[in-house]
């Protein structure tokens, strides 16, 4: 038996965040939950060496990325899944906000999987280029070029719409 209590505590504490990352990468909450479940199984297998190294969450996030990308490769069609968010914050312009979100998610879903992963890891998970490269198992140069291509596409979609400019906001690093 492993120290399952620690693993369970980690899984309970991290699954929500992991599911959000997975959702932004795949565009579907149900599939995101499946991806997180598979990723957590991989984390369980690697758990003893992860806890020694203190890198549980980074490994779990990398596992999510890997599972989502693997799944994307397996799918034979490019299904577009965009969910309208039923929960509406009361103090914002709902129509514009939902429209901007929906547009972003729609364009995100149409991006090549690794470009999408770069955007999510860099601007949702706030990873640096180096950390993103580690999570994706590629070079920093690849992260930069993939991110730049994704941003070009996202910006052009927003520029061509009535939604206005898309900015990157402030990062935390």
């Amino acid at each position: 038996m492993r120290d399952e209590d620690e693993f369970v505590a980690f899984a309970r504490g991290s699954r929500d965040r992991l599911r959000r990352t997975a959702y932004l990468m795949c565009g579907d909450w149900e599939r995101a939950a499946d991806h997180v479940q598979e990723a957590l199984i991989r984390v369980y297998v690697a758990w003893p060496r992860l806890t020694r190294a203190g890198r549980e969450y980074a490994y779990a996030r990398k596992a999510v990325v890997s599972v989502v990308l693997d799944h994307t490769r397996r799918r034979s069609s490019t299904e577009l899944v965009v969910e309208a968010d039923p929960q509406r914050p009361a103090d914002l312009d709902v129509a514009e906000l939902v429209s901007a979100r929906a547009t972003l998610m729609q364009v995100m879903t149409a991006l090549p999987p690794r470009q999408r992963a770069c955007v999510v890891l860099r601007y949702f998970d706030d990873l640096s280029v180096a950390e993103t490269a580690k999570a994706l198992g590629c070079s920093e140069g690849t992260v930069k070029s993939q991110t730049a291509r994704a941003l070009d596409r996202l910006r052009s979609m927003f520029d061509d719409s009535s939604l206005g400019e898309l900015t990157l906001g402030a990062g935390t690093w």
């Binding site: 492993r2 399952e4 990352t21 991989r42 972003l104």
Partner: protein
């Protein structure tokens, strides 16, 4: 208007639906994969769904007086001992002849096609899948000499199957139907393919209790299926197993588990027999039934029953005090025990102990990350040691150990083969990402030396 992408991403993911993540399922699947990584699985299990027995463990001084591996080195077993460094090199054309080979370039991307065994008349049971949401599997018999195919009619089975018998007249595959009440046990089913009529028949046995999903049923010399019904299970010490020097939990010297032996007829769903025998692991030779007292823990008794006369004897195999019995095989007058005996500062103590059916020691193959399984008159030894990774063959007839390959795939592939054949698998290409399994090449060979 300015749209902040970070804010939009966070808002898009801000209101997830209720989380129905099944943590219990994560734990169940995780445990199974850990076991699969550490133990040689039974014949016919394959890709990502293999089931086997647990290898959990113990390190550190304990009340029971077990030794303290973290402060010591791998001990030497009693009797003759050889290591993988003693192996000679097997050569194609000298020690074996290549019969067939099949490569799956990337099994992370999609499921593939596999050799699941070889029939008594030399045809390969070839499997495609499972694929799709319905886990559809397609089976065929492939003649490696001509390349001719015989596709088999569809088999309506969603669960994993593994071959019990690949005969000239019939093929028999087993599966276990699980339900939520008992994740590691279920209802045994057998699917019998009549090779003349080219039709499948599925047999279940209403009188058979739920069987263990971690102990593969075996076919006896009388053609009956012998299967274990869980009886007793060892428990970890309070606080769980300590972590060994390799970072893995270490349960060497664990209390084993037992099963009650039942048998059923492939021809009659009412023919169910409680054999009145509690055991750990079971194997048959042509004329003997061999079983251990316990399995997946320490075992100090091996029993041998002569199937002609009914005469029975037993002996202490004198395995190490901390050796967990993980696999048992038998061939002719040889018994083979695959064991995990603890983790030490200088590595794991894994042993493949070979004895006569009278209990006399023949030799013990000792290594870090090895396991062994009987294939006809050979013992196929699999090594996960980085510098000695690969498949080795110990020939029970002449006590030679030969290295056949220098790599292993990440998957549990293969199945039963007739005497004289050997099947192994190697990695396809270079493995770039340790998180991914990559591809696999299966090789079927005829052992000639």
């Amino acid at each position: 208007m300015v749209n902040d992408m970070r804010a939009l991403l966070h808002e898009a993911a801000a209101n997830p639906p209720a989380d129905d993540l099944d943590l219990a399922a994560v734990l169940r699947s995780g445990r199974r994969r850990v076991r699969r990584h550490r133990v040689r699985v039974g014949a016919g299990t394959a890709l990502a769904v293999a089931g086997a027995v647990a290898v959990t463990a113990l390190v550190g001084s304990t009340d029971s007086g077990r030794d303290t591996p973290a402060a010591s080195s791998v001990p030497r077993p009693d009797g003759p001992v050889i290591g993988l460094a003693d192996a000679g090199q097997a050569h194609q054309g000298v020690d074996y002849e290549l019969v067939a080979q099949h490569a799956n370039e990337d099994l992370d991307v999609a499921n593939g096609q596999y050799y699941d065994g070889v029939t008594d008349d030399g045809l390969i049971l070839f499997r495609d899948g499972p694929r799709g949401t319905r886990n559809k599997v397609r089976l065929a018999l492939l003649d490696p000499a001509t390349g001719d195919w015989q596709r088999l009619p569809g088999l309506a089975e969603k669960e994993q199957t593994w071959p019990l018998e690949l005969g000239r007249e019939r093929l028999a595959l087993a599966s276990i139907a699980y339900d939520d009440t008992e994740p590691f046990g279920g209802t045994l089913r057998a699917h019998v393919f009549d090779r003349t009529a080219r039709a499948w028949t599925t047999v279940t046995w209403p009188g058979l209790p739920r069987v263990s999903g971690s102990r593969s049923p075996v076919i006896g010399t009388d053609g009956r299926i012998y299967v274990g019904v869980p009886a007793t299970q060892g428990s970890p010490p309070p606080g769980g197993w300590p972590t060994g020097p390799d970072g893995e939990a270490d349960d060497a010297g664990a209390e084993g588990e037992t099963y009650d032996l039942w048998s059923v007829s492939l021809a009659d769903s009412a023919d169910v027999r409680d054999e009145g025998l509690r055991y750990g692991a079971l194997a048959f030779t042509d004329d003997a039934m061999v079983w251990s007292e316990t399995t997946n823990g320490t075992n100090d008794r091996i029993h041998v029953r002569d199937l002609q006369t009914g005469a029975q004897h037993d002996f202490d195999p004198r395995s190490g005090e901390r050796c967990n019995l993980l696999g048992l095989g038998a061939s002719g007058d040889r018994i083979v025990l695959s064991q995990y005996c603890g983790t030490y500062r200088d590595g794991r103590d894994d042993r493949v102990q070979i004895l006569t059916t009278g209990g006399d020691p023949v030799t013990t193959i000792q290594g870090d990350g090895i396991d062994g399984a009987v294939v006809g008159e050979l013992v196929e030894v699999t090594s996960h040691m980085p510098k000695r990774e690969g498949t080795y063959v110990y020939d029970l007839a002449d006590d030679r150990l030969l290295r056949v390959t220098d790599s292993l795939s990440s998957y549990a592939l293969g199945g039963p083969v007739p005497d004289g054949y050997l099947m192994w698998h190697t990695a396809y290409g270079e493995r770039q990402d340790p998180m991914r399994g990559g591809g696999a090449v299966q090789t079927l060979a005829r052992w000639t030396s």
